[in-house]
């Protein structure tokens, strides 16, 4: 069992964060320039999310199995979660197939500088949206009555 007990809970966390990223011009402008369409296939729990940067606005679409992706990234929900804290050694994760990427990989790697600011945003987003228990950068303290 991973960190997220249900797909619904993971979806709330990750889709909410992707929407925040998509609404952050510092990052979104660079993503849109790439015209990239990425399908994330998560496991434990299972979830599919497409980020479509091919139009005028970055769109985040959970459960989208129809859109033809340019790159597909497959990983566990836990790896994805740790990645957004900047805690995953990307080289190692790809070498050991903890992350599997299909498609033009160099194009994905070029997005890394663009998404760098999001690592600092993720823990703040978790805290600000009632997901403190998933903020692994600090010891979680349950709210007192």
């Amino acid at each position: 069992m991973g960190m997220f007990k249900t797909a619904e809970e993971f979806e709330k966390v990750i889709v909410g964060f992707f929407n925040l990223v998509a609404d952050t011009p510092l990052i979104a402008d660079k993503l849109l320039k790439s015209k990239m369409i990425i399908r994330f296939k998560y496991s434990d729990p299972d979830l599919i999310v497409v980020i479509d940067c091919s139009g005028d606005k970055a769109e985040v679409r959970p459960h989208d199995t129809d859109t033809k992706e340019i790159v597909e990234m497959t990983m566990s929900a836990d790896i994805a979660h740790r990645f957004w804290f900047g805690m995953v050694n990307l080289t190692k994760a790809l070498t050991r197939k903890e992350m599997v990427a299909k498609g033009p990989i160099p194009k994905v790697l070029k997005l890394l500088p663009a998404i760098k600011p999001s690592y600092a945003m993720y823990p703040q987003y978790l805290d600000a949206n009632g997901f403190e228990q998933y903020n692994i950068t600090k010891a979680y303290k349950p709210p007192t009555a």
Binding site: G86, T91, T95, R96, I105, P106, L109, L112, P113
Partner: protein
Amino acid sequence: MGGYAGQILYVNLSSGDIEKKTLDRDFARKHIGGLGFGTQIYLDLIKGNPVFDALSESNPFVLMTGPLTGMKMNGVARWTVCSKSPLTGFWGDSNVGGFFGAYLKFAGYDGIVITGKAKTPSYLFINDETVEIRSAEKYWGKDVYTVTDELKEDLKPESKKPGQVLTIGPAGEKLIKFASLINNKGHAAGRTGMGAVWGSKMLKAIYVSGTGKPEIAHPEKFDDLRKELKEVYEESIGIAAIHAAGTATHMDVGIISGDIPIKNWQMTDWDQIDDIGPTEIEEKIFAGHKTCYGCGVACKKNAQVKDGPFKMEKGPGPEYETIATFGTMCLNSSIESIAKANDICNRYGMDTITCGSTIAFAMECFENGLITEEDTDGLSLTWGNSEAIVKMVEKIAKQDGFGAILGQGSQKAAEHIGGNASDFLTTVKGLEAPMHDPRSAHGYGLAYAISPRGACHEASLTFEAEGGMIYIPEIPELSADLPEGSDERAQLNVVAQDYGMFFSNCAIFCNLGGMPLNATQALNMVNYVTGFEYTLNEVMEIGRRVWYLKRGMTNLFGARAEDDRLPKRLMTVMEDGPTEGSLPDMDKMLAEFYELRGFNADGIPTKNILENVGLPDLAELLNTA
């Protein structure tokens, strides 16, 4: 004998004698090739008189290929050189790709041992069985690109097939301590100043042309392996990345973990880093792909700057280490100037890591008032001054004014400058650290500290293992999930040295082009080519012996425990960024490492351990030194 050409050339430049010695099968099996051959031959040559200056005629120079060099396979074009380093005074070696090694084997030689010193500028001509020492008066003083083109053109009529040139530039002739050897204009044996060793011997170049081909012991098995590996390479993300963008791809990845040193190792993040990353490189200077012999990975990239102050013709472009030393280290966001600095280093024959790091060091001295424009011949060595950086590279190459000071490397320059200049050094054993920060991965810190040739990320496979580039499931330490911090790094280093000596020093796989290979695949390749049927245990033992031999040689040249330390700059805690608060626990790692390797308190392997690994001669030498 599969994989080997079967002969080693011995060239005495003092006497002019040239001898071809048959490669002994038992010797080949015991040492595999590359630095396995090189270290043993070097030791045998110097053990009668191990005290000499690196730039004297007593310092031999050994160039060796491996059993795979010259095979049409990804990641096996490499070959090695070794000698005493003029930069550090300790053991020196370098590992290089390109075409020269393959062509040397086609000519019928597994390696070349050069001793003595020529009276006048000379080059070595090799055309199959014809081997001659010839006058290089015509080429002396000329740059690497010119000599490469002229020698190929001049010797074409005498060669059955087009040849390859390995040469020094003016930097080697002027004995610049970090002068390099360069094949095909861009494949450099860069580190530790092997070019100055050639310069001291008045050896300008080696030209080689050959018509033979080494045999493969089990060609059908080799072909099957090639087919198996095709899929492995197609699936490798790392290979796809370096094929597309070269090693510069690390600019995007390394910045996340704080691996890239910035402003002479004082920062781990910089808002202008994207200006010198792969995207900008592709848009501004990319001029096509390059490769080494027989390798489809093609991680090398050409560059061209069409106009402006850093205009340069199409030629080999800067790799990651070069982009970082002349870029992030100097807060220089002009990719064109980095390409130009690289071009100058290639033409004059200088190591870009030491050159760039030494300039970054000088910039910090300038910032702190230890040197002024009066010292630097009017150059304002302020951070990010791209024109000053390029001009200083030229001054170093020409040994002009302050360039002659920096041409000694940063450690010697710090002695000259005085004050607290040594606080800004990034050297271990006199060699400037490569562009990977041990504060982001503590095992690198130990790797730099105990590397026989000085701070080096390729002296073992620690960088590749801890950094995640390789995964070797057959070896627990090279496939473990390491805990955060400094725990288990000593054991990692030991195993990464043993396997690394086999993998990239003796069999001479490329650490980049060979990164998708597991141990079984690597071993099978060596076995199918040589027919030796090594086991993994056996090659680990050979690797261990070679590592102790290199370490012992550096001890023999004077290195002691106090030299196994990281400089203050690399041991300064970062107050923010990805490596905030992270420092390698060097005392703990060194103590564990010394225990595992059987070192005494002086940092010297005990007599017992050296005898156990099969080095009684070295044990005797160190015991009486």
